[in-house]
């Protein structure tokens, strides 16, 4: 969405999960050499706020170009350390394809690896807020508050309530550890409650951390645990995909939705319509 200087919306776009633009209910096609954006406007910032090249129709994500018409990157994924198939998992064949976008699962937005440290929370929140129409000061304020969730009182405790702030597993009131499904439910409820109570920073923090599988399914055991070095370094060096997934989750929250609902549990079906009770015919 683009806003005027007065804060009024002047352009908004709809996209398929893989980024093809939808105008008047129709998915737009792209062809090379098409000089004019197909929706007839001069808005070049399209899917997830990335700039779309008017000649090729490709989206620029910083590290690579993305072709939304085929749902693929146009170059292979890369890593700083030389690796044959970066970020791959042998038990997930989708990760072996270096050209797929979020493992062909654009609604789940879960990155194969990575974490977020406070500075990343701040940066992602700031960009998401700016790209959803917030002013600079409001965005910076929200970014600082989202990063500060890591430093709130009790934030690093191992109980379920505080662990779910970070999309992690914690100790339940009955004294046992949450299962992954229980932590998903707890995190989803945390986001719902935070959004209802106006604590947008907490909701943003939880959904941004939830996009990082080193939080998802893990329990926090402190600095002296074996997993701490991996946790710490990946918090500070998240992969581009982690950043993009967290950013997308943040945009969804700022649009007023809970992005964890479609990941963790499909929305409950609407309640069945109650059959109307037979009307009593007044006796004449």
């Amino acid at each position: 969405m683009e806003l005027s200087s007065g804060g009024w919306p002047v352009w908004s776009g709809q996209f398929t999960p893989f980024g093809q633009e939808i105008v008047a209910g129709q998915v737009l096609g792209w062809s090379l050499g098409n000089q004019q954006p197909a929706d007839g406007t001069n808005m070049h910032y399209k899917f997830t706020g990335k700039e779309r090249d008017s000649e090729s129709g490709l989206d620029y994500f910083g590290a690579r170009y993305y072709a939304s018409n085929v749902g693929r990157w146009i170059s292979a994924d890369w890593a700083q350390k030389p690796e044959a198939v970066p970020y791959s998992k042998l038990d997930d064949p989708q990760t072996l394809n270096l050209y797929t976008y979020v493992s062909n699962n654009p609604l789940s937005r879960v990155d194969p690896d990575g974490h977020l440290e406070a500075q990343w929370h701040a940066l992602i929140t700031y960009l998401a807020a700016r790209n959803t129409g917030h002013g600079r000061i409001a965005s910076a304020n929200l970014a600082a508050k989202t990063a500060w969730v890591d430093f709130r009182h009790g934030s690093q405790h191992t109980d379920a309530v505080h662990s779910n702030w970070h999309g992690m597993r914690g100790v339940k009131p009955d004294g046992t550890l949450q299962s992954t499904a229980e932590s998903h439910e707890g995190t989803r409820n945390t986001v719902d409650n935070a959004m209802k109570s106006g604590d947008t920073a907490l909701a943003l923090h939880a959904v941004e951390d939830s996009a990082t599988p080193m939080h998802d399914g893990h329990a926090w055991t402190g600095i002296f645990s074996e997993s701490f070095p991996k946790h710490f370094f990946e918090d500070n060096l998240p992969t581009p995909t982690t950043i993009m997934n967290s950013y997308t989750n943040a945009v969804v929250v700022l649009d007023g939705e809970n992005p964890l609902r479609p990941i963790y549990e499909p929305a409950p079906p609407p309640p069945p319509k109650q059959q109307s009770e037979p009307k009593l015919i007044p006796r004449k």
Partner: protein, 193 residues
């Protein structure tokens, strides 16, 4: 001048660290958590009732340990004591208890500042050469230390309350292995000595 500025920044950082550390120490909830009346195995950790031995085996080695004097608050802090043995076969039906260990489990409020937080106090149970981490005074990892993956340990709850009551080769023992997601609850009345 830059040195003085760096010193000031360092002192400021320490002050923030100390302040946050102190704020983490504030007790949140003072309510006591009721003691477990059953064995709960999984996910990943096991919650143990007070006074009853649990057998642990890996490969050819078998050990046993139990928790005593469990005192736990709702926030998971508190203390307990443990004693443990390694069981060695002398003859087919008899065992001897060796390598006895005991200690205090002390779970205090988390200290430090994100991400440099730690749990002060002793949060490990030693059974022979094995170590198992505790998240609360009665919640023990089913893998070594605080590992999140299966290290091959198996556990069997017993109704034994003294070392001489332990029968590690009882056919009625129910052995439970590490599971990351599922939860198995076994009442004390349903387990063999």
């Amino acid at each position: 001048m830059p040195k003085a500025r760096n010193s000031c920044l360092f002192i400021l950082f320490l002050a923030v660290l100390a302040g946050c550390s102190r704020s983490e120490q504030v007790n949140r909830s003072q309510g006591a958590m009721p003691l477990a009346q059953e064995f709960v195995f999984g996910p990943r950790y096991m919650r143990l009732p007070e006074g009853y031995f649990v057998l642990v085996r890996k490969g050819n080695e078998v050990g046993a340990f139990r928790l005593q004097h469990v005192s736990q608050k709702q926030d998971g802090t508190g203390t307990s004591m443990y004693e443990s043995f390694i069981l060695e076969k002398e003859r087919p039906r008899n065992i001897s208890l060796t390598n006895q260990k005991s200690g205090v489990i002390e779970i205090k409020q988390v200290r430090g500042i994100h991400p440099f937080t730690w749990q002060p106090g002793n949060n490990e149970i030693h059974v022979g050469a094995w170590k198992f981490g505790c998240l609360t005074p009665s919640l023990v990892n089913m893998s070594s230390h605080f590992s999140e993956s299966d290290d091959g340990f198996e556990f069997a709850p017993t109704a034994a309350q003294t070392p001489t009551d332990i029968k590690p080769f009882d056919q009625n023992l129910r052995w439970v292995h590490f599971d990351n997601e599922s939860r198995v609850t076994i009442p004390i009345t349903a387990v063999a000595k």
